[in-house]
Structure formats: C-alpha cells, structure tokens
Symmetry: D2
Subunit: 407 residues, 4 copies
Amino acid sequence: MFQHSEKSQLLLAKLKTFMDEHIYPNETAYAEQLHRAENRFAPLPLMDELKEKAKAAGLWNLFVPEDHAQYCEHGGLSFFDYAPLAEEMGRVIWAPEVFNCNAPDTGNMEVFMNYATQAQQDKWLKPLLAGEIRSSYAMTEPQVASSDATNIQLEIKKDGDEWVLNGRKWFITGAMYERTKIFIVMGKSDPQNPSRHLQQTQVLVPKDTPGITLIRPLTTLGYDDAPIGHAEIVFDNVRVPLENVLLGEGRGFEIAQGRLGPGRMHHCMRLIGSAQRSLELACKRAASRTTFGRTLSKHQSVREEISKSFSEIEMARLLVLRTSHKIDEEGVAASVDMIAATKTTVPLLVQTVIDRCMQMHGAGGLTEDYFMAEAFNYARWCRQADGPDQVHQMALGKKIIDRYADQ
Amino acid sequence: MFQHSEKSQLLLAKLKTFMDEHIYPNETAYAEQLHRAENRFAPLPLMDELKEKAKAAGLWNLFVPEDHAQYCEHGGLSFFDYAPLAEEMGRVIWAPEVFNCNAPDTGNMEVFMNYATQAQQDKWLKPLLAGEIRSSYAMTEPQVASSDATNIQLEIKKDGDEWVLNGRKWFITGAMYERTKIFIVMGKSDPQNPSRHLQQTQVLVPKDTPGITLIRPLTTLGYDDAPIGHAEIVFDNVRVPLENVLLGEGRGFEIAQGRLGPGRMHHCMRLIGSAQRSLELACKRAASRTTFGRTLSKHQSVREEISKSFSEIEMARLLVLRTSHKIDEEGVAASVDMIAATKTTVPLLVQTVIDRCMQMHGAGGLTEDYFMAEAFNYARWCRQADGPDQVHQMALGKKIIDRYADQ
Amino acid sequence: MFQHSEKSQLLLAKLKTFMDEHIYPNETAYAEQLHRAENRFAPLPLMDELKEKAKAAGLWNLFVPEDHAQYCEHGGLSFFDYAPLAEEMGRVIWAPEVFNCNAPDTGNMEVFMNYATQAQQDKWLKPLLAGEIRSSYAMTEPQVASSDATNIQLEIKKDGDEWVLNGRKWFITGAMYERTKIFIVMGKSDPQNPSRHLQQTQVLVPKDTPGITLIRPLTTLGYDDAPIGHAEIVFDNVRVPLENVLLGEGRGFEIAQGRLGPGRMHHCMRLIGSAQRSLELACKRAASRTTFGRTLSKHQSVREEISKSFSEIEMARLLVLRTSHKIDEEGVAASVDMIAATKTTVPLLVQTVIDRCMQMHGAGGLTEDYFMAEAFNYARWCRQADGPDQVHQMALGKKIIDRYADQ
Amino acid sequence: MFQHSEKSQLLLAKLKTFMDEHIYPNETAYAEQLHRAENRFAPLPLMDELKEKAKAAGLWNLFVPEDHAQYCEHGGLSFFDYAPLAEEMGRVIWAPEVFNCNAPDTGNMEVFMNYATQAQQDKWLKPLLAGEIRSSYAMTEPQVASSDATNIQLEIKKDGDEWVLNGRKWFITGAMYERTKIFIVMGKSDPQNPSRHLQQTQVLVPKDTPGITLIRPLTTLGYDDAPIGHAEIVFDNVRVPLENVLLGEGRGFEIAQGRLGPGRMHHCMRLIGSAQRSLELACKRAASRTTFGRTLSKHQSVREEISKSFSEIEMARLLVLRTSHKIDEEGVAASVDMIAATKTTVPLLVQTVIDRCMQMHGAGGLTEDYFMAEAFNYARWCRQADGPDQVHQMALGKKIIDRYADQ
C-alpha cells in the first residue's frame, strides 16, 4: 500500500546516488556552459557526458511504460512506479534530459511507440530512444484556444502525393534546440467533416523541410528555457510525403488525446521534486541563518510555513500517485477526471510552496544562485502548458456536477 | 493499492445502505426532537431507536481497532480500513453516535482498553461499548495552553486513600449529556517532579461525585452541539478512591499521548465526509438552480469551484489514508509528523470547501435547512480541538527543519 | 483630506464615550436578558433603557442623511461623515439599535423619507424615527435569485380598491421582532409589462394583516439574531387598501435600487468596526497570554497576522470611505461600481480577519465569551445579504471590462 | 477629499499624453534596442531621445518634494500629489527613467538634497538632476539581514585623511549601468559604539575608485533589469577622502531611516500603475478573445476575477494615498506604521493581480509580448527589496499590539 515495486525502489536508490554524484555537483558548471554558449540552443558538452554516464548506470529511458517493454533495457515501469523517479529528476530543471526523460521527447516517443509505422519508428524513434536527436510536438497556435485540440487551425492539404502545411504555431518546446530533427505537427485536414473529432491529422515534418521558419524563441517570466526552449514557427507551403501521416488521416485528435494526459502527469511528478527540493533548501536556510538574534528556524512563522509546505507537498504527491495508479489500472481515458484534478492543482500548489521557500532566502532566493527561481517559472508555466487550468476545470467541474446531480 | 480490505468494503456498503434507509430520512425528525426538547442535553428517543437498528445491522463499535478485537463482534479494523467508514458517518453530524463511534467516547473506550484494570473495564468500558452510558475526557483548561499536556494545572492530591481534585476545566465534550456517567480527568499530581512528563496523573471520576459543578454549556459559533455538548466544569474538593487512577500515578502524560493522535485522525476522517457531502449538495444545487437564465452548473466560476473542491477533498482524503496507513504500520508515536500534517491541514481545507458550497446555496446555505452550517462549525472548531493548529505546526515545522537541515 | 467634518468628529467622540459608559459594560447583562427571555423576539428592557440614554445624549438617528435634515435633531450627516459613527456602533452587534441606526430600519426609514406620502409618513415614519416600532423590508424569496429585483415573484393583484398579495418570502429581517409593525413588501404586479423594470410594485402591509403567517425564524451558522431575527413568511390572500402603494404602481424596482445600495454600505461600515474590535481583542490577548514560555506577542507568526489584519482593515476602511464620498458627490446611481466593489470585498475580508483573531484566542475565541463569533457570523452572512457577492461581481466585472475594452 | 491639487492634475494629464505619444508606441523599439545591445548595461539611444522630450514637455524631476522646490522647475510636489504621477509612470517598467524619476536615483537625489554639502551637491546632485549621470545606494549585503540597517558589516576605517572600505555588497541597483558614476556606501565605522544606531557611516565613492570590482549582475526570476540592473560588488581597500562622508561620521543609520521610507512608497506607487495596466490589458483580452464559443468576458469566472482585481487595486491605491498623505502631514518618522502596512501589502497584492491577468492571456501572457511578466517580477522583487516583508511585519505587528494591549 503506497509502496512501490522493488524494481522502482532499486532504480530510485540508484538515481539518488547518481544525482548526488553527477548532477548536483555539476549545477554550477552547467549554468556556466550555458551562460558562455555562443548559441544558447546548441547542445552542451556537459549534457552529453552526463548522458553517457546515465546510460552506463542503467538509468536510461526510465519513462518507458510496461506495455512497451521492448523499447528499453529495464523492462518498463508502471505510471505509479515511474512517479518517484520523475520526482527525483525534477529536483534539477535540466536533469530529466540526462536520463532521456525530458518533455516533450518522452511524450513524442510514446506517440511513435503507439501510432507509428515500422518505417517511421526506424527513422525517428530509434535515434530518439538513443538520445541522438530530439523532437517537438507542434500543436499550440497563437490565435486559438489550443487547449481544445479541435480548435487547431494550421492547414494540412493533400496535393498529389504530398501533404502541404500552412499556418503558425507557438510555444513549440524543443524546436529551437539544434539537436531537434523532427516535428510532429497537428493540423486541420478536413474542416468540413461533420465530426469535430475527425477534422485533424498529425504528420511528421523534418525540421529542415523548406518552408519552415523559426520566428523566435519565446520566454516565460523572462526564461528562455535554453537549450530546449519554446519557439514560434511559421509553416509556409511546407511539403512532406503522404506516408508521413501518423496513424491515418483524420486521426489527429485521437492521437492528441492519448498524448496529452500522460504528459501532464509527468510535469506534475517533476514539479513535486521541485517543491520538495525547495522545501529542503528552506529548511537548511532556516537552520543556518540568523536574524535579529535568533536562527530563522526558531521563528514561529517559519515553522508554520515549513509545516504547511510539507503537508501540501505530501498531499500533492499523494494525488499524483493516486492518479498514476488509476491510469495503470483503468487507462488514460477512464482517468481524465483525476488527471484534470492533478493538472489543475499541483502546479499552482507548487508555485505557492516555492514562492514561500524563495522568500525565506531573502533577495538571494530570487537569483540563479538557487534553482528555485527557475523552478518557480516551471510551475507557473505549467498552469498554462497543455491548456490553461481553467479549461480543465471547466470540464472536470461539469463532470463532477453531472456525477452527483441526480444521485 | 489505495484499496481497502474486503471486510472494510462490505461494512462500507452496509453502512451506506443504513445511511440511506435510516439516517438521511431522519435528519428532519432528529432536528425537531432536539428543537422541542425541554432539556437539550437529554437523550433523544430517535437516537435510541437508531442505535438498536445499527446493532442489529452489525454496524456497531466499528472504531474498535484490530488489536482489541475481543471488544467487538466484527473483529476489529485497522486505521486504514476504518477511515472510509468514519468518513461515511461524518456525512451527518449526529450519525457517529448511532454506531457508537462518536467522540469523545471512542477515544475514551480506547483508553479503557489500553490502560484500565479489569475492574475499571467491567464498571465503565462494558456499558460504554454497549452504548448505555457516555463519557468525557476532562483535560482542557481555560487558563493554560492545554495543547501541551504538561501545562495542565488541575490539582490532584493524595489524601489518605483518596485523590482530591481541585480545578477548572472547559470544552469538556459530552459532560452536559445526561447519559454521561464517567469523566477521565487529567491533572497535576506531582508538580515538583523534575520531568515535566511525569507530573500528571489521570483518574476516573464519576460524574455524580460531590464537588463537581457543571458551570455552563459552551458554544462555538453559536452551536451548543447538543445533546453531547461542551461544558465548563469546576472541581471543588472532589474525592475518589485511589484505585480510580488510570495506569498509575504520574503516567497521565503517557496516556494523553496515546489518546490524542487517533482522536485527531477520527475527526479528520469524519470531516472528509462532511466536505464530500457538501460538495454533492453543491452539485445538485448547481444542476437544479437557474439564475440569470442559465443553470448554475453552466457558470464557469461554479465549475471551477466544484473542480477545486473535488480536487482538494481528494487530496485531504489521501492524506488521511496515508497517515492512517502509517499508524497501522509503525504506530502512533512514529506517525506524529503525519498526524500533525493531517490535523493542521484537513479541518481548514474542509472549512474552506464547505464555505464555498454554502455560498452556492444562497442565503439558505447558512440555515439549518442543510447540514452545511453545522458541518462548517465542526470544521472550524477542529482547528482548535486537541490544540490549535499553530501549536502542532510549531512542532511539525521544527521536526521537518531538523530532518533536512544537515542533509 | 481623509478628514471628517467637525460635526462628525464631535459626534464620534460622544459616541465613543457612550460606548465606554453604557454599551461595553452592558454586554454581559444584555446576553443574559436575551438568554433568559421566554420569547427571544420580545423587546429587551435593557435596550429600552439604553435607547432613552442615547436620545438624551443626542446620539439618535445618526444615519439620517443631510438632504433629510428635517427628520433629525443633528441636522443630517453625509455618507462620508456617517461612516466612522456606523463603524463605532459596529463594535457591538446589538449597539446600532440603541441609536436607532440598525438594519433594516434605517433603510426603511429612508424609503419612507424618499417615497412615502405624508399620510404614510405620519403613520409609520414618525414612530420609526422615535424608535417606538420597527419595520421589515420583504423582498427576498426562497425560489428565485432575489439579488436581481426583477426576479421577485410574490403576486400583487389589484382587486377593487385593494391589493391582494400571495407568495412566500424569507430572510425577512426584523419580521419576528415583536416590536415590528409594518412590512414594505415587494412583489410583481404587472408580469406582462415588456419592461422588466416596471413589473414590480411595493406596498405597505401592517404585520397584523390577516393572511400573514410567520413560518419560522431562520438561523445563519446557528445564530437566530434575536430579538431582531430573520423570518420566513407566507402571504395568503393578504389584502391592503390601494393607498398603501409606495410611490406608485410599477415603481417597485426603482425604489429597490435606491434602497439597497446605501444598505450595503451601512453593513460594510459596521463590519469595519467588528473587524477593528476583533483586532484590538487579539492585541490584548497577544500581550497577555503566555504559551511555551513566551507571550504570544513575541511569536513572529502572531506579529505577521496582526500586521496583516491591521493593513487589511485599513484598506477596507478606506474603500468604504472612498465609496461613501463618491455617493455624497455623485449619488447612488453613479456609484454602483464602487458600491459593488465594497460589498464584494469588505465582508469576506472582515470574515478572514475575525477568523484569525478568534484563532488567537484558543477555543474560547469561538464562544460567546467574546463578541467575535457572532461578528464572524455577521460578516459571513453579509456575503449573502442583499445578493450573493457573485452576482455583484458579475455586474461589476462586466462594467469594468466594458470600460477598458475599447480604450 | 481624495482629490489632488490642480497642479498635480495638470501634470497628470500632460503625463498621460506623453505616455500615449512617446512611451507606449516605443515599447517594442525599446525592447529591440536592448535585445540587440552588445552591452546590456549601456545607455540606450532611445532613452536619451525620450528624456529630452520629457524635459521639453516639463515632465522632469517630478519626484522632487515641495520642501526642495529649488531643485526643480515645477516647484515641488507633495507625496500625495506625486502618487498618481508615479502610478502613471509605473505602467511601463522603464518609463520612470525618462522623467528622471527612477529608483534608486530619486532616493539618492533626496539624500543629496537633505544631507550633502554644497560641494557634494555641485559635484553629484547637479548632474543627477540633469539626468547626465546615475547613482547607486550600496547598502544590502549577502551575509546579513540588511533590512535592519544596524546589521551592515562593510568596514569603513579612517586612515589618515581617507576612509578605507572593505566588504561585499549585493543587489546594488544601478551599479552595472554604464552611466552610473557615484555610489553612496553604507558601512560600519564604529563597531564598538554602545549605541547600535551610531555605528554606521555613509560615504560617497565614485564608481571608478580603485579597489571596486563589479562581480556580476544579479537576476530575479531570470530578469537582469538591464540596463539599470542589480550588481554584486566587492570593495577591497577602496579609499576616498574624508570629505566624502555624508552628514557626518556615525550618522549613517539616520540617513538610511530617512532614505528608505519614501523609496518604499515610490515602489508601491509605481506598482499600482503596473497592476492597473495589467487589469486594463485583461479587460481588452476578455472582450476580444473567444473560447468555446463565447467571448472570455461572458465567463462568470472572468468577471469575478476582473471584479476582484479592480477592487483590490482600488484598495491598494487608497492605502498608498493615505500613507502619502500622512507623510505630508506628519513626516516620515511618524508614518512608519503606515509605510510598513503599505510596503507589506501592495507588492503581494499586485503580484496576485498580475498573476491573474497573465493567466487570462494564455501562454502568451507569460512572454515579453506583454509587459506583465516583467511587472510580475517587479512586484515579486519588491517583497524583498528594502527588506523582506516579514521584517516589516515584525515591527508593525509589535507596534500595533502595543498600541491596543493596554487600552
């Protein structure tokens, strides 16, 4: 009960050791490499070194689920068993990539596992699993409420043996990254289809296809999240062969549904780690900092805030675990209520916890001397990522009302 | 995982049926009997009828823990397995008594099971288990911060073969109730003992002992919680035989420690039920009430609040379950951190949820036409009961800081 | 600037003295008279004594506005100048009646001043101003969202030379009070009128008119607010002469508009006083109570909460003053935005402040030993009174969006 | 009442016109100049052009208070009259510099006006007033709680006819800016002085003095606030002549006291403008954006949030005005309670309002396409600037408790 499999526990122990030995000690070096980089979206040498070490340590592709065991060495993990591992990686913003477990690639790889042809898998999934290339999921558009996938407007037209794409996307995570080679693009191929859920198609578009322009990197609260980043992109008569379709014409919405739920959960898992680490930093600070003749830890207000933060993190973690467990038992579709509850609760809660922990650090808490400022941005951003919380609350609220209305 | 034993599930199903058949349909009748009562602290006929039905249905003494199986017919339940049952009972403020599961009697019966002599058990525990009498736990005092048991000042002096008690208590739940026959009284018997934890003793004091004066019933937010109620009591040279000591002289603090943790958890379990029922009422209201030409359920703000409330209740429930499970596995003493986290989080969260649900009911939501107003008072009161939240946060905050300070 | 007229300042000084000499010292006596009353809705002797003293002190009918100077001895006060006086009275829940300044009578008296014929004034306004009788404003109905006056359904039909009323009202403040003699009743007289704002009429209905049944007193959070109280009332073929109409047929909405804005402001003014007194009690408690070896006042968390409460009360007070000043300068109609901002902000803020102050008092803070519990109920109830906050936020939000949308 | 002088109103009208004509239309150009700058801390050509225009428009040095009328053309403004002007400037993060009204220079210029010799004024105040140079106020240190000025540790020793400075400062606003020429440095000159308030001295240190090293620019939430910025600085045997002392040896604390209160108020004034503009942006967004078939403005939740934000901004603005007025009437020293209330309330409130407004803008709300993200950072940062809120709450809470404790 509340207990993870032995396999998960062993991997977690190994992962903690790896974090202690290779990740935390390199936080400053990583920041400096990025700071000195001529191109902030080029791969960092340190990342490549660490990836090799993670592979060697058997800490690679931990996200791969049980039913896709063939794609990884460790044999796959349930959602529930992956949660503490993702939490651990979330303690350093850039750590997930070290283990090939970063967004959006994990979700994209799952799309390839679930919906791609053998040829598509050979060409793109293999190097993704090897960490040689990166990918983007191009769905969000500036002009529409993209949280509802049926709103997507980018035009996908069949022309002879090609798809022709025209439109604009933004907040396309990873698109700026030099290592990214492939975009999964969602667009509208059949605007007249009477079913809103059959109007969309997803196609594979190599990043170097003519007609693609990376307009600019986008920032959130001033962060560019380099080297992975978020891009605004224009597609101007971009052409790819018909075989680049995923799953089939008109099935884009279906893919999106399967893709997004797990992605939201992975964000939440990592955010728990961000909050937990912030809490631990706050505890260390409280124990070591003296103001007005007493250590901070003796101030009742500090104790109350630590107590509150501890309790809230614990609740958030339990919610993530509960939802993960439900996904394992009943699948993503049956778990949309709990996924929505998690997605609309955890990021805001984590933002609040980190805000408190930063405040205990004085002005320094807002700087890059700690990881909290960037983690705060991550939590804030997740209240918008994959749809603003309000849209999910609209759907969840309606569902709960219906559930109890006629009882 | 997150799943209760078959036994617990069967009892829950039976309990839900009982609530549907006997409790909810009697809410109005119960309110009227109480309203018309000449003495608000006399037993209500309806309660006695329902108790017989609950016994007949095998829904009696559900609180009895596994390691005290001999005291009940159902063979005892773990904390974890009792949680959903207590939650269910919490859906109606006065329901727990129907099943002999109300505070403070459950905690007091556990004290008898754990610490009383056979003679003490024969005299008091038996009729308590049978629901024939009720009891009070007389600890809190108006002049000291009673959340720290070592502060208790009521004087207990040995005089010949008697204990003599002098002092004042308040918020003594159940003391006003006519059916209550026995007080467990905590006092200071050895003020000079160098160990603060050995200064206290607990003695059994029959309610009709000369020298006891029930000063007045106390209210919280205007509620007297009749017929159980909360009393202010004066002890003026109250004498009981030496054999009335519990466990032994100087061991009062030890008893209090074992007594209070589980009691706090039981409150939280019931509060989850109060919040859940409030949410369900709000859903029904949202689906049926029309304002400004639309049903409430179509207002985005209503959906957001329902969504938030659903998520928060789920988190609170998980926290209660997690802590219950820890108590089952590791005992109360090892679980004080999680008990404190639960006690300082759930009542405030439930108060907030109920406040929202009341607001959706218009002015009527604040009346006795719904159970929400009284449940709101229950949640608010629990932020003080067994010590104000702030005192528990002080201890928990300190513990968490120490845990991470030197890592 | 931010400064009240000399007249207002002098009255405030006198009022403070009166509170010190006659109100605070009688709080216990008042509670006891009410507690011992056979009929909780009968006038209390103590109230009558105090009213005579207030009259003698020149502290009578302070609410009368400047433009109705003829109705009072002091010559009328602006909204802005009345605010600090109403705040002062709000420090004791029942104090406003002592000065003939309690809801709903102040609002009702203004209705008489503004809209009644000389005959109507002679019959009802005179004894109201003298404090000899009390009145009710019967608008809210259980089945409709009464915050929008156009929803009111009670049927008012002309039959010969009489109005015939049929319908149900609830939360009719004052109706239970024995001293109450007259109801101002709002109903629908012309349901087919194409203008929703011309369908309503208000008529004067003596409380003893046949066909009126007081169903029950209503409570909020357990409080019956006796002796004034809130009633549920049925009107069954209640007949009054045509001359009992106020202002004219079809002008009920117009009256309601003028009536409700000032009423909301008066509640907010009094609530500031409730919050301020709670804060002062919390300060006294913090300075005198010792826990864990330190006075509460030395705990940083207590200081933060006192600091927060002080700042929030100050902001709320300024908002009340600002809105009052706008009403003085531009009238009620032009001030609906600021009235809505005040009405939707102050009660919730005050509820939060009082909740904190109660918590600092330990369990005792929730009892009748302090005035905070009842003041908490008053604040909570005002979030529903005169329409739930959400309805006012709907209107205000729309207005603000329109204001800036096209700039 | 609540009304500003005609002079203030005229300047405000002129300022609004200037903002419309010269500031808002240049926001993109400014961002691009900064983005393309080789040195982010070099002066921007656009800023210099705009400063000339502001001078020409008579919108220069608006911050200068009435009692220093000789330093400006407009004759000085009271705190109360300056508030709406500072609010207006706060609508664009970099706008205050255009009018020579940016922090920390305004505060520093006031220090020169109040405490500097004629020679010091000639050398530094004149070019500051002319906008030719900029300045820094070097007080905060990484190792101590600098919110209490008596904690400052940087060593200032007299050696012959020179002061010798050794120590480390951080968050020294403006120090990175190329245009900055002079530092006002606070340090400890007399550590043994029995009065903690006489141990500190402030000296003028030209930025190019040998021994000064600008270690690095600091960021908050990822923002470097270029070109003004915040620096970490080391002072290593930095020598300045004795005549560079301000006011006199041992009078540093006295200067700090006078300097910081007004500075905090100026931040709050500007933050009101930031919040107000965010609200206006949110209104425009709500009116123009359609999701799920309805404009955002029709969603009840959006209306509630707009309503709440409007009300909160109004309260915050009133608090700023009230405190400003008190400073005008009674001086800074007598207003420390209201300054603390303002400083600990407004930034957090503004942060919350902007957070809501950003959220209504979807993912774009977090980018540089709007000014909200940077304004959010400004508000967040002000909860630390000039001392963390908690330190001010400690002092204010204590003061309020004392005020009411013995009444």
